[in-house]
């Protein structure tokens, strides 16, 4: 190998000297275990990162300081020294009463925010008594079919005093309305309440696939919530642009980063086109990322995300408002990485993933429970998950200093590489006309499917190790834990309340409100006021979504 390399810098020359003098003899003696070392995204990881990898990186321009553009090192000048991340465990199962009890339990254990998981019929806009809901009520989350359920869900929880995140997308505007009406009944001031609506419909078409309406009217509903919140609920985050589900569906870390941020840009585009001033609504856009197994890759992803967002807001939208430029995000550990086999091992996986989120500077965090590959978590499993965060926060010392890995050759090189790979995806998507068009063409969907398949094959070839699954297997371990079982009687309970609600309400008021909603949708007005009116009249979720379906139609996924 006597090829002559161009020596471009003293750093490169020094690296090559090391390779020649120290590395080469060592490799001769002890060869490395593998030819290629890969991240969990199957990207190659180099043997060593050194100053030679950061020649293109300009510290002042690219790394900077915490609280300063481009926010690579975090959005807060004091990191976690001023305020720790919010410990926000996602919870929801069975009836609103049972979930309400879990919420109160978690708050009593020191949790600092709430996050609601809804069941599948609710996510799809069906009431508990819909034939399509059979077998699914209360299974993957809590069942909510009307304001009456929502009142039970937040009974005794003052919405002015706690921030609530709601994981709901296709019918998100209805849930914003229900939340606001419950708050109003509690006497809370809309101007003071805060919380987050996931409301990220783009990633539904890309990955999670809980959609109702076609893409464009669905985007209109999202834009309606932006406009409404900007005017009436200024502290509320009307969207949480989510990479989480994109990653769970099989995307690589880079794809998660690229598609999520490009989704974010798409929402800003739609808001701007609807006439909203950028610096009034963009500061309330928040993000949601996955924390997967590959520790450094994840940390670099979060750092790259902040940098990409601030640069995109500056360069694409001309913003210089610091609140617009700063990306805030929530993180959840990777459900897909949890194994049924030897489930207690999941506690360790979650701890390491959560640590990556913290070292990446997350604003809030959900840690998965060890039993979640099998079922929704038991109280005990959910408690260990919360304790994991508390141990990271208060025992390990990682929150004492800001961005402790900043300046690491590896982390900075990986941050640069992920930013540049994400920008390559942006270019492709921009060339298609934007994210809505890219989704209509099936582009992100196909990219993710390909990655999922490649990863599965790598696992089956043993190139990616999953402890307890393709290495260090044992028999019979999965039965060792007790899991939560959701009773089939939940549906009966929910149907009964829905029936009572229908009997008690003013049918004429419901019909009028639903008609007004249809008109608003048809005439392209903001649908939020009519949705709130329908919710106040106790129109059910299914009825409201059905009224909108009358106007918008339904989405049918093409075969990609």
């Amino acid at each position: 190998m006597a090829e002559i390399k161009e020596i471009s810098s003293p750093e490169q020359a020094e690296l090559e000297r090391w390779e020649r003098e120290t590395l080469a003899p060592a490799l001769k003696k002890t060869p490395e275990a593998k030819k290629r070392f890969e991240s969990v995204s199957l990207d190659e990881v180099n043997r060593l990162y050194s100053p030679a990898d950061l020649i293109e990186n300009d510290t002042a321009r690219d790394i900077s300081f915490p609280g300063e553009f481009p926010y690579t090192r975090g959005i807060h000048p004091t990191g976690y020294r001023g305020k720790l991340w919010t410990m926000r465990q996602f919870a929801g199962f069975s009836t609103p009463e049972e979930t309400n009890a879990r919420f109160k339990y978690l708050l009593a254990q020191g949790q600092t925010g709430l996050s609601v998981a809804y069941d599948l019929p609710t996510l799809m806009g069906y009431d508990a008594d819909s034939p399509l809901a059979e077998g699914e009520v209360g299974k993957c989350g809590v069942a909510v079919s009307s304001l009456a359920d929502m009142e039970a869900l937040f009974d005794g929880i003052p919405l002015e005093g706690v921030t609530v995140s709601q994981t709901i997308n296709a019918p998100a505007s209805v849930f914003l309305a229900m939340y606001l009406v419950v708050a109003e009944k509690q006497g809370a001031d809309w101007k003071k309440i805060s919380g987050t609506l996931q409301n990220d419909i783009l990633k539904e078409y890309i990955a999670q696939k809980e959609w109702i309406y076609p893409i464009r009217p669905a985007m209109k509903l999202v834009t309606d919530t932006f406009e409404f919140c900007t005017q009436q609920v200024p502290r509320y985050n009307p969207v949480s642009v989510s990479g989480y589900h994109i990653r769970e569906a099989g995307a690589t870390a880079t794809q998660e980063l690229a598609f999520t941020l490009r989704d974010g840009i798409e929402y800003v585009d739609w808001g701007v086109k609807a006439g909203l001033p950028t610096d009034e609504f963009v500061p309330r856009i928040s993000f949601f990322f996955n924390a997967h197994n590959d520790f450094f890759e994840e940390i670099a992803k979060y750092r790259a995300a902040r940098r990409i967002w601030s640069r995109a807001m500056r360069d694409r939208f001309g913003s210089s408002n610091e609140r617009t430029l700063k990306m805030r995000f929530h993180t959840q550990t990777a459900g897909v990485s949890l194994t049924v086999q030897q489930p207690l091992n999941n506690i360790v996986r979650v701890a390491i993933q959560a640590l990556a989120g913290v070292l990446g500077g997350t604003q809030s965090l959900h840690t998965d429970s060890y039993d979640e590959a099998l079922a929704l978590p038991t109280d005990r499993a959910a408690l260990i998950a919360l304790r994991t965060q508390q141990i990271i926060a208060e025992e390990t010392g990682v929150a004492n200093t800001i961005d402790p890995l900043g300046g690491s050759y590896f982390i900075e090189a990986l941050t640069d590489k992920m930013e540049s790979a994400a920008l390559d995806y942006f270019e492709k998507i921009d060339a298609m006309g934007g994210m809505v068009e890219a989704i209509e063409k099936g582009f992100p969907q196909r990219e993710i499917q390909d990655s999922a398949y490649r990863y599965q094959k790598a696992v089956e070839r043993g190139e990616q190790t999953i402890v307890g699954v393709n290495k260090y297997q044992m028999d019979g371990e999965s039965t060792e834990i007790t899991t939560l079982v959701i009773d089939e009687s939940v549906r009966e309970h929910q149907i009964e309340r829905l029936q009572k609600t229908r009997d008690r309400r003013d049918g004429g008021a419901v019909a009028n409100a639903l008609n007004r909603l249809r008109t608003a949708a048809q005439q392209n007005e903001n649908t939020m006021p009519a949705t709130i009116e329908a919710v106040r009249a106790y129109a059910s979720l299914g009825e409201i979504c059905s009224a909108l379906r009358d106007i918008y139609g339904v989405y049918e996924e093409p075969a990609f």
Binding site: G135, K139, V336, A375, Y453
Partner: protein, 134 residues
């Protein structure tokens, strides 16, 4: 020696949209030389049985992660039997608690594949259990 390809319907019943597994399996079976038809999301047991009949498949692979397996699987098996598809295998992949497995098998589910299963195992199972056509 007949060289007919094994025909499999990969189906995703219920409201759940998590189709990563279904799509990976569909592709793996295709790569193994089988004919695969994927139903798409949110198919009712009736739609799945009708597709199985129309496509004349040897096996139906059902992907369920939502906990609705006890409601959906027995119905799919019954509908297939009702339309005379007695040899059509029903396979379930996804999250199925251990205690539900014997009951599902008793009701006629041929194979249950839990998270962590290799796609190779499913290919092997199908090759071993699909009845050769007359």
């Amino acid at each position: 020696m007949t060289e007919t390809k094994i025909r499999v319907l990969v189906a995703k019943p219920g409201l759940d949209g998590h189709d990563r597994g279904a799509k990976v399996i569909a592709r793996a079976l295709r790569d193994a030389g089988m004919e695969v038809i994927y139903t798409g999301l949110r198919q009712t047991p009736e739609m799945i049985a009708a597709a199985a009949l129309q496509e004349d498949v040897d096996a139906v692979g059902v992907s369920i992660l939502s906990g609705a397996h006890n409601t959906l699987c027995p119905r799919i098996v019954q509908l297939l039997r009702d339309q005379g598809m007695n040899d059509c295998l029903v396979l379930v992949g996804g999250i199925v608690p251990q205690e539900d497995i014997p009951k599902l098998k008793e009701l006629g589910v041929a194979g249950i594949f839990l998270p962590g299963t290799s796609t190779e195992d499913i290919v092997t199972f199908l090759r071993a259990n699909v009845k050769p056509r007359e």
